[in-house]
Structures are given as C-alpha cells and as structure tokens.
Amino acid sequence: MSLLHIAIFSPFLMAILVPLFYKGLRRIHTGWFVLILPIVLFTYFLQLLPVTRDNQAIQKSFDWIPSLGISFTAYVDGLGLLFALLITGIGALVVLYSIFYLSKEKEKLHNFYVYLLMFMGAMLGVVLSDNLITLYMFWELTSISSFLLIAYWYDRDRSRYGALKSMLITVFGGLAMLGGFLLLSIMGDTFSIRELIAQASELNDHPLFLLALLLVLIGAFTKSAQFPFYIWLPDAMEAPTPVSAYLHSATMVKAGIYLVARMSPIFAFSEYWFWLVGGVGIFTLFWGSFNAVKQTDLKGILAFSTVSQLGLIMSLLGVGAAALQFDGIDDNIYTAATIAAVFHLINHATFKGSLFMVVGIVDHETGTRDIRKLGGLLSLMPITFTVAVIGAFSMAGLPPFNGFLSKEMFFTGMIQLLELDLFNLQTWGLLFPVLAWVGSVFTFIYSMMIVFKTFTGKYQPEKLEKTPHEAPIGMLIPPIILAALVVVFGIFPNILSYNLIQPAVAAIIPSLVEPGEKIPVHISHWHGFNSELKMTIGVVVLGAVMYITLNKWIKVYNIFPNKVTINALYDTSLYAAERGSYTLTKSVMTGYIRTYLVYIFVFFIGMLGFTMWTEDAFTMDTSNLAPIGIYEVALVLLIVLATFTILVAKSRLTSIVALGAVGYTVSLFFVIFRAPDLALTQLVIETVSVALFLLCFYHLPKLSRHEERMRFKLGNLLISAGVGIVVTLIAISAHSTKMFESISKYYIENTYDKAGGENMVNVILVDFRGFDTLFEVCVLGIAALGIYGLIKLRLEKKGGVIDENK
C-alpha cells in the first residue's frame, strides 16, 4: 500500500466521512469539506509531472487475489497522469461550483457528495490501473456512481429514465469489455497491460485477437457515447449541472477515449482498429454536430456537442494508429494525429466544462434552459457572457483560443491521411476530411447558437420564472478559471506540449519512442497559408451564412421522423424484449400441470431416444435369457388384462380393484422369481393401499361424482407409448450388455459367516446396508406425520385469524 494507492482510495474513504460532516456540521455546506480532497490530490499529481516528463513511469503494486494473478497495480505514466490531473483538477472546480449551485437547505447533499467522491475514486482507479481486472472493477464503479448521480433527483420520471438508460448501455459495454479483457488475458497469459503491450506483436496473430478487439471497442464506444451508443448521453442531462459538467463532458465519457488510447499499443497494428476507431469516430463527429443544431435545450446542445467532440478525439486516435504502420519516426507527420487527440482532449475538458457551468448559471438564474425563451441576457450577466463566448468560440475553433489550434491539427491529421498508402485509403479515405469539415461547420453553427440565442436578441422577461441577475461570485470562479485556461492554452500552447502532451503521446504509441528520446511536439499558431487554414476560413464563412439563414433550412430535420431515430429503436427493442419475454413465459408456463408433464415426458423420449439412435446403442443378446414357463405366460396375460381394465374402466371403483389385481399379480411374480420377502411385503402393502384408495373414494364428497370414462386423446397415447417403448428398449439393451459380474457373490458367501443370518435379503437390509433401512423408516414416519397433520390441522376453520395464508 503505497502513497499512490492511498491517493486513489482517498475519495472512497472521504465518501465514508461525508455523512458525518453532513449530520454533524449542518451549518457549513458539506461541499467545503469535500473540496479539500481534490485540491490535495491535484497537487500530489502535479508533483509527479517531472517523472513522466522524462517518459519514466511509477509502478506500485499490492496483491489483491494473488492466486489468480489479480493485483492492484497502480501505474502512472504520461497518459494516466494527464487523466488524473483532469479528474482531480476539474473535480475541484466542480465541487466548488456545486457548493453554490446546490442549496444547503433543500438538497440531500450527503448523497450528492458521496456519489461524486465514489465517482472520482473510481475514475482515478480506471486511469491508473495496470491490471485488467482492477481496471474493469473501477470501470463498473464509474457506471454505478454515474447511475446514482444522474438519478440524483430521483422523484423525477425523466431522471430515472435517463439513469436506467445510461446504466443499461454502459453496463452492456462494460460486460463486453470484460469479455475482451478475459480473451486478452488468455492470449497473453497475464492481466497486466504492460506485459500485454510487451507481447503485442505475438498477440496480433492469435485467432482470438479480432474478437477481443471488437469487445474492448464496444466497451469504449458505449462509455464514450460513440455512434450508435451515444443515445444515453443526451438523456443523462437530467442530472444536476455540476454532474453533467464533470461526468458527461470532462471525465467519464473520456474513459472510453482513455481505454482506446491505452489499448492502442496492443491493437493498433490491426487494420480493423484503424477503420473502427477512426471511422466510427469521424461519423460520430458529424452525426453529433448535425443533431446538436436542432436542439432547443442548452444542455441538449452541449450533450450532442460532447458526443461530436468525443468522436473527433476518437477519430484522431484511430488515425494516429496508422503511425504504427511505419518504422521509426523519421517523419513525425504520422504522430501528428495522436498529438492532436491528446491536445484536443485537454482543450475539450476546459471549454466544455466551462460551457456546462455557464449553462448551469443561466438555468439557475432564469429558471429555464430553453433557447426559445432565453435572449438578451448580455447586459444582465456580462461575466457569464464573456465566459460563454470564450468557451463557445474555442469549441467552434476560432483563434486565439485553444480550440482553434486543435482544430487545425485535426484537419492536418485528416488531410495527411490521404497521403498514406495503406488500408485501401485511396478509395474511402476522402470521406475523413470531408466529414470532418462538414462536422466542423455544424459545430460552428451550434456554438454560435449557444452564445447568441442566449445572450443577444430580445429579452423576454415574461417567459422566465425568475428575475435574472449575475450569479454569485463562487459560482463564477470555476468557469472563469476554465475560460482563463482556454485562453492561456490558446496563446501559449507549448507550456502543455512537453509537460503533458509529449509523455501522453509516448504512452499511446510507445513503439515509436527510442529510449531516452522524446517525441518532438511543437504547436505553432501560424503555419502558413495552407489548406488547413483555408478549411477553417471555409468553416467560418459557410457556418456564419448558415447560422443567419437557420430558420430557412431548419425544416431539413423534419425529413427524419421521430420514429426512425436510434432512441426509438432503443425504446422499441426494450419494450419488445419485455413484451416478448412476458408472452413467451405466459405461453410456456400455462399453469396446467398436464402441460408441464407433457414437456417432461417429451423431453425424456427425445433425449433418450435420440441418444440411443445416434450412439447406435441398441443391442439384443439372447444368450443368457431365462426360459419362459407356462405360469409366467399366464401371469403376464393377467397383468396385461388388469392394466388394460384400468385404462378403459368407466367406474373408478373398477380401476381401483384392477390396480389391486396388478399389485397382487406383481406379488405372484415375486413368488415365481424366488423373492419370498418381496412377495410378502407386496401382498400386505397392496392390501393396505387398495383399502386406502377405497377409503378415499368412499369419502369423497358427492359434488361431482358422475362417473365417466377417461377421454381418449391421441397425443397422450403417443407420448405414453413413446415412454413405454423407450423404457423397454433401454431395458433390453441394458440387459444385453453386462459389463461385469454382480457383487452379490460376496453377500451370498458371507451372510452367515460374518453377519450370522440365513435370510440374505434381510441381512442386507439391516446389516450390510442398514443405513437405507434407517431412512426408509424415516420416510414412513414423515408420511405418517404428514397424513396426521393433513387430516387434523384445519387452520382456517378456527376463525378468520389465519386467513392470510389462504
């Protein structure tokens, strides 16, 4: 248990303490106590920066289940540290923001902070685990805590719907990912990611490789809201805004990105990886931005914009994987995409976090997030407006903000893709820059919508629930800090490059880094009047034109009716699954005992008959048969006759008597087959049984005692004939294949010598195998007590007291 482990577990420990603070110190907002932890953690992770800057890593391990090779290995490299800093840094800002956002009096703060801290700890565990099983454990913890946070206002229908949806989708992905992890561990015989990366080239040829790749990607795509799994994210906007800012823009949705980046060294040699990650990413980018424009809810716009930006990062990671196809880094052009991915990851966390907080402020101060009701807030909320402009312009990719730089680098990556000579890129490769450019145009449009529809235009005070005014300063500080970072990273991007981006890129594509060497990362503002810049100018011009004429072409969205969305597909399939399983159960479980008996018997016939037939198991050996005498034939005829009488008898009395006849014939068989004890017992017991049957029959109430013959049913006849034939065939076949001699010789020889008796059957019953007899006595005793209880205990007749069992 090192300091690193304590750092990862500290949010969980803190979560235990939160209710104590909440109950004990009611006067102080619980958030203030919580705030200390992420700040301390952030400082702790900051001082690890010098280690990763030299591409070194810290590895600390303690055993969890050593016999299964499962340990909790914390591993800090450039990629892990970058995420850890994002989680703790934005975590601190979100906690500060939530102190002013959530009311101390009205909200259940202890729940909120316990869930939030659980999430923070789980997220740190995800990004700092080297062991696949530990990673999976923390991964599911993020799903669970996110489920709890989305449904924080659990009395609202929409919250519960959104929470359930995100739970189903992310847990589906999580389980697929677990499958992928297990396949990986089978292929590499280890749970350690480090050791798997070391043997990446051998894994590539393994027959399970492609399946593992697909399963791991499903996990990453569901968590990171990629097409078509993005549908949970817009519904997760029912969560409190600090949660949306933290989980659904900066951290949790980046867990999938993290997973893809982390697994890149293992999978990226494969063509499938390139096409899936890159292709799905670029399509998600387009689809998300296209759908964001039609939203009227500010958080809805931001949700789709998050989907779109995640797609952007994902596509860059996919394209970056192409870099691994070339030996060495003589031309660093191929690593550009990965650098852009990491850079945009940081940028997105900053501007999207601030935008969510801005939307939260607008919601908090006006009571609505609907852009049709908002407008003209510029003069009322100048600081919020400034922050919104910085965030939105950065998202749109305008200079001098950091989004501009990463957008340029994104275009660079996409254009360079055309020059690569692999994976059939000549034919389909052109789609990448085209989709990227179209997606950017839509990104520009909705970014402008966020700013101008909210803050400019006509002020409509009659539609607002509250009188808007500027937010309290505590609520403004976190978005201001994030906006400041947007500007700082925009103007001085290179403070990031060597401290954060370079080590992270080295962790994503380690095979391209020579020992002791560093990947050159230099982000420059002005890179000449090249095609990237022309594309950006095109985005701005077309975007501006389209934004102004928005009302004219917004009807385009009506072409797609609501019924053909993926949401509708999700809802329908969920409904169909519930309905289908209900119908299936209803049709199979009829409640009639006869149906179940039919299932059992048909299965019996099918199973045994099929086995006999396929195994060719029927044999017939007539060599050791006993001869048939005249008495036996007579008895056989008698028993057949009696059985037949039971079947066709009209009166039940006749059936009972015929059953007695069968029983007595059986005892006669026992006489012929030299079994005196059996004959005696059978005679007595048959007599008692028949007496019992008659007793029952005689005492039956005369409600519906009309006698009728059993109705003939062909199905029943076929089933019973089948059972009888199968039993007969198996009996003959079993008798014909004697495997070994009976052990009865021992009993015959030793009955007198060892046990002192002459009646072998009785000696076996009470001496050799006395235990059977003991419990058979028990059975009789229980039956007797049961019968006594059935007859004597009539609970409900004692008055209405015990009626609830009825």
Partner: protein, 113 residues
Amino acid sequence: MEILMSIVSGLLIASAVYLILSKSLLRIIIGTGLLSHGAHLLILTMGGLKNGAAPLLGQHAPAYVDPLPQALILTAIVISFGVTALFLVLAYRAYQELGTDNTDEMRGTEAND
C-alpha cells in the same frame, strides 16, 4: 423371459404415463401406483431372472438368485407406499376443500395469475 418382462414393465409404465396425463387426481395417483409396479419389476428383471434357489441359506442350493435387487425393491416398495399414502390423503383433502378432483380447475386464484 427377461425380454418379456421388459415389455411388461414398458407396458405398465406406458399405461402409468397415460393415466398421469389425465385430468382426474385419482387416476393420476393410480398411475403413480402402476409406475412403481413397473419400476419394481424392472429392477428385478435387470438383476437377472436366472433360476436358482430363493436367497435363503437354509436351502443349501448350489446357486441362489441375486439378493441385492430384492433388498432394493423392498426399500422401494415401502417408500412408494409411504408416498402414495400421503398423496392419497392429500388428494382427499384437496377434494374436500376445493370440491374438485380435476387438476385443470386447481389453479392459482385469479389474482395470482
């Protein structure tokens, strides 16, 4: 003889199954009675019906029939008797309380359905 006895057991079991598939509770119990007869005969047959003396040492015979299946059947007879008796009383009580011995009518209340 063994083949004949196998066929007889098969016949008994087939009739038992046919009775068990009927609706009347009493017939179902008669069916279980037939089923245990069939099973007992089958056990005896599978032990071999070779001629020999009854398994009593006082007979001083050169060969005896196999005593083990007989011991097993004796146990089985007693157990099936216990179960049948309980069954019968259960059916009797059910008839008394519910007023029917038709299994199709013996279903959960509508509310539980």
